[in-house]
């Protein structure tokens, strides 16, 4: 009995160590004066952060990455929400196909995708090769599964067929139904998909380097640049990148719980009063 009860905690400790030791090391490394000659760091400093923030590229690459990530989320949502809605509503038989398409990006390596896109858009009327716009379009493909899945689950969780018909019988056109009835009900799905996409793109290096490279430097490019010069500054960059990713993850978690709370049936009295207080302005 006693032996058996050790297996659980031990495996959890191993798992946590496996997951968090490298991250912890990165954190420590980013504030260590030196940590290559001794077991413990030789004193602590925030100099590497200072250097990172003072780098004239820092703000530029940060802004570039935020812009590219946000633009990709927007394009992705605008493309996928109406498509997913329409297919779920009118072409349910095409759903397996859509599910397949939405997982394809997992099967295509970033390098292959990049080379294909450069070949396709390098010539012809659309001169998109090596522009940030092209990077955004590539990211929309690359992150399709992250955006599509949460939206599809949200659509499956509500009876979109009936809701759409109810809205129509009350005189609402298609666009109005989508915006006023469907969208608010799948918003948690769109938000969590969007945040997943955002966090993924913010740290993405391969596609960015291959498609635009130095013409439009992103945050991970600068990080890689520093790994070749000073690992401690690179670590500081990594920590900042983690922080952005973790902040978005926290928001995802918050949004997800918010979503389940809303869609659950009758809830606790506390919840009710909170909700009533928040809508109290009406009438």
């Amino acid at each position: 009995m006693k032996q058996r009860s050790l297996v659980g905690p031990l495996s959890i400790i191993l798992f946590l160590a496996y997951m968090f030791l490298p991250i912890l090391a990165t954190y420590v490394f980013s504030i260590a004066i030196r940590w290559d000659r001794s077991i413990l760091p030789e004193g602590l400093t925030f100099d590497w952060y200072r250097t990172a923030f003072q780098d004239r590229w820092f703000l530029i690459v940060f802004k570039h990455s935020i812009t590219i990530s946000a633009a990709s989320v927007l394009v992705s949502a605008l493309l996928i929400v109406p498509t997913a809605y329409w297919v779920h509503l009118k072409l349910p038989r095409a759903l397996p196909l859509l599910n397949l398409i939405s997982t394809l990006p997992f099967a295509i390596p970033a390098v292959v995708l990049a080379l294909g896109l450069i070949k396709l858009y390098g010539q012809g009327p659309l001169q998109l090769a090596r522009t940030p716009a092209m990077l955004v379009l590539a990211y929309v493909i690359f992150t399709l599964p992250f955006m599509y899945r949460p939206i599809a689950s949200s659509l499956e969780a509500i009876d979109i067929q009936r809701l759409t018909e109810a809205a129509q019988s009350l005189g609402a056109s298609w666009p109005r139904t989508l915006v006023q009835v469907i969208l608010p009900n799948i918003l948690p799905g769109i938000l969590s998909g969007g945040l997943l996409v955002f966090a993924t793109i913010f740290g993405e290096f391969t596609l960015a380097t291959l498609l635009v490279g130095a013409r439009y430097k992103t945050f991970p490019m600068q990080l890689v640049y520093y790994t070749r010069r000073d690992g401690r500054i690179a670590s500081a960059y990594s920590v900042i990148s983690f922080t952005v990713a973790w902040a978005t993850s926290l928001v995802i978690l918050w949004v997800a719980t918010w979503g389940t709370r809303r869609s659950a049936g009758p809830r606790t009295a506390q919840d009710l009063t909170r909700k009533q207080a928040s809508v109290g302005g009406k009438v």
Partner: protein, 359 residues
Amino acid sequence: MSYLELDGLAKSYGEIAAVHDFNLKVEKGEFVSLLGPSGCGKTTTLRIIAGFEKPDLGMVRLDGLDITAVPAHQRGMGMVFQAYALFPNMTAWGNVAFGLRVSKRDSDYIERRTHELLELVGLAAEGQKYPGELSGGQQQRVALARALAIEPKVLLLDEPLSALDAVVRVSLRQEIRRIQTQLGITTVYVTHDQEEALSISDRVVVMRQAEIEQIGTPIDIYTSPRTHFVATFIGTTTQFEGVLEDKVLGRVRCADIVLSVGTNAGMAVENGDPVIVFVRPEAIQIAQPGEQIEADNMLTATLQAVTLLGPVIRLSLTSGGLDLVADVNTNERSRFTRGETVLLHFPAEACRVMQNIPA
């Protein structure tokens, strides 16, 4: 010319006909139910009226205008669904006001009208609740108020009570009828529940396998079913299989007994035809012991089972290999014990004779 006219509607899904040659005229202010087992095409018909489905053939006319090609959101038909279909992101108030906002009515009117409708369905105090905070019955009331708010030309209800429990179902159906009468709104109501259809409709359309079996007032449908299906689908009935012996005198031979069935004008059977005689359970009476009976049909039977149904008790009887069902007032329950032999009787007028077409 009627207010709502359905003319030769047909709709198939692949090989399967959902609706076939459907013709119906509904007068303004009338309450018509489409009744039938699941898969009979009643919901498809309603969805064609609403504009959610396009018929393969036929025409929908409203107030003389052909609206077959008009999209659903321009038809002005209020719809109530089985699963309520309230917008979960809006309060009860928001749901009812939705249609008015879409039609860009001024805010004073929206305010007044929404309140009026919530009051009509008895939910004026629940306006700020979200659908998830309301019971099933309350949600369906909101859905009804929402459909009525836009002053629809026709109110369409698709099994609106099926998801509710028995007590709520009965009270809400009476309320639907009360509101419908009060507003005088033309209503088409789909249900598979015969009791529901009979109790609230002006007219009932009984459907089976994509086709109309019979259209009539509830009492017509109940007392004068025109087909074997209607006779057995609506209510409970005792069936005697036999041969028509004498059309003029109204005699049917069933095994070793002869039933006096009256002379039903227009009875589409001839002497020698195999027929079925239908008798409703409330038409069959049980004689008091020692009572002198003068009746068209008298049979001795053995009482097999006594079932309490509430106001009546149902007696299951057998007589010479025939199964019979009779309903008597619950007050008389002490008279009956299982296994006893009783004398039952029913008048010729209670018999409904139909040709027996082997399936």
